[in-house]
């Protein structure tokens, strides 16, 4: 059995203190520590952990994305995304909305008079998209509700037609007999 596996909590606390003291005494950098083996045998399990960690990382870890480290809101479904996006769009101040409208108006005017550069054309499209979303945030939910009602009526109408067809065919069959 290895020495580190027999350690009790109290021993680990002692080792932690010992490890810290040793580290401060030696004053060695990460890189130097990663190549030293004497401290491992001296301090045991705890130092082995620290040693492994140093070896895993480069002195300057410059590659990673922060996105992978954090929980992402995968639980949002499309309906929730739409609802919450509308809530966000409702938060635009009146002044901000006016600024967007003014920017859109100026670009639209320029488009009709002299035409837009490619960069302006892209800006025009994005501002238009933002204004559509702001408008959707104000009345979209009500429109969605009306759409649901219309879809419901259409389905009901189709069901009625189907029942009528079936009744007619039953009626015709009875007469033939």
């Amino acid at each position: 059995m290895s020495k580190s596996s027999t350690l009790r909590t109290a021993d680990i606390d002692d080792l932690s203190t010992l490890a810290q003291r040793d580290l401060l005494e030696t004053g060695r950098s990460h890189k130097e520590l990663s190549h030293s083996s004497d401290v491992i045998t001296k301090i045991g399990g705890l130092r082995l952990d620290a040693e492994r960690e140093v070896q895993e990382g480069e002195p300057r870890d410059l590659t990673q994305s922060f996105f992978r480290e954090l929980p992402t809101p995968d639980y949002f479904d499309r309906a929730k995304i739409r609802k919450m996006s509308r809530e966000a769009a409702k938060k635009f101040s009146k002044k901000a909305v006016e600024q967007l409208r003014e920017e859109y108006r100026v670009l639209a005017l320029k488009k009709s008079r002299t035409g837009l550069s490619q960069k302006e054309e892209r800006r025009f499209a994005l501002v238009g998209w933002q204004l559509d979303n702001i408008e959707d945030a104000e009345s979209g939910e009500e429109l969605d509700r009306l759409e649901t009602i219309v879809v419901g009526y259409e389905r009901f109408s189709k069901d009625i037609e189907k029942v009528m067809r079936e009744l007619t065919s039953v009626q015709l069959g009875t007469r033939k007999k």
């Binding site: 705890l46 410059l62 479904d77 609802k83 966000a88 994005l126």
Partner: protein, 243 residues
């Protein structure tokens, strides 16, 4: 004001650091005051510490990660679903805020964390990251994102039905630093109800590490935020080179 303000978007702020082992091994001691602040400020909080040299704190909508080589704070909405017997579950929606407001409050949280390390010498800053995690409706993508997707699907001449793409590009070379962005795009036509995920992880990487302090960080962060938001706007507009 950015287009991201009008959609469901949450921020993360992160830094890459070099923390000397003498500080790592005393991490709990340094963070104890911060834990107290968290406990006083947040209703629900939890500290996960898998090893001595790193810890994760979940406090209401924030997730803090502190390790030898990284520190980050991410914001996430908590949507609570109450299951009732014999009835549909009741969903409680959080108060949705604009990305600009969320990044400001996340910055304040981050500054509070950094002040804990003020006066402790030896922590070096390598890079600063500003992330926007954006959930979109596939049928209503901003023009620039639509353009990017059309560009990515060009070799097949048809819309892509499923993708999970990560693209990292160096987007600017500055004096003593460069800027890059990790772009993560995810969509599956068979799981339309899951939405369209776009993550923009903008980073400024310094050629030489510099000593970390909350004061010097604040100035650097403001510069980075302007640059990051400017780039996110370019993505929304599609103002990249497609031809």
């Amino acid at each position: 004001m950015t287009w991201i303000d009008g959609v469901l978007a949450v921020p993360t702020i992160g830094i890459s650091i070099n923390m000397p082992l003498s500080i790592v091994l005393n991490l709990n001691h340094h963070l104890s005051k911060f834990f107290d602040n968290i406990a006083a400020k947040h209703k629900k909080w939890k500290v996960n510490q898998k090893k001595e040299s790193a810890c994760e704190i979940n406090a209401d909508d924030y997730t803090y990660k502190i390790a030898r080589n990284r520190m980050s704070i991410g914001f996430n909405y908590q949507v609570e679903e109450e299951k009732l017997p014999g009835a549909f579950p009741v969903v409680t929606f959080p108060d949705v805020q604009m990305y600009s407001d969320l990044i400001a409050s996340t910055e304040a949280e981050f500054m509070e964390l950094l002040t804990i390390f003020d006066g402790i010498k030896g922590i070096d800053l390598n890079f600063i990251g500003i992330v926007a995690t954006i959930e979109l409706d596939h049928d209503n993508l901003p023009p620039g994102v639509s353009r990017l997707m059309t560009h990515l699907s060009k070799p097949w001449g048809t819309d892509l039905s499923e993708f999970q793409v990560r693209l990292t590009a160096r987007i600017h070379e500055g004096e003593g630093f460069f800027e890059r962005c990790h772009h993560h795009v995810e969509y599956n036509e068979d799981k339309k109800e899951a939405g369209f995920k776009l993550v923009l992880d903008w980073q400024r990487v310094y050629n030489e590490p510099s000593s970390l302090s909350s004061n010097s960080f604040r100035t650097k962060f403001r510069e980075c935020l302007d640059r990051a938001l400017g780039y996110f706007e370019k993505i929304g507009e599609g103002d990249l080179i497609y031809e």
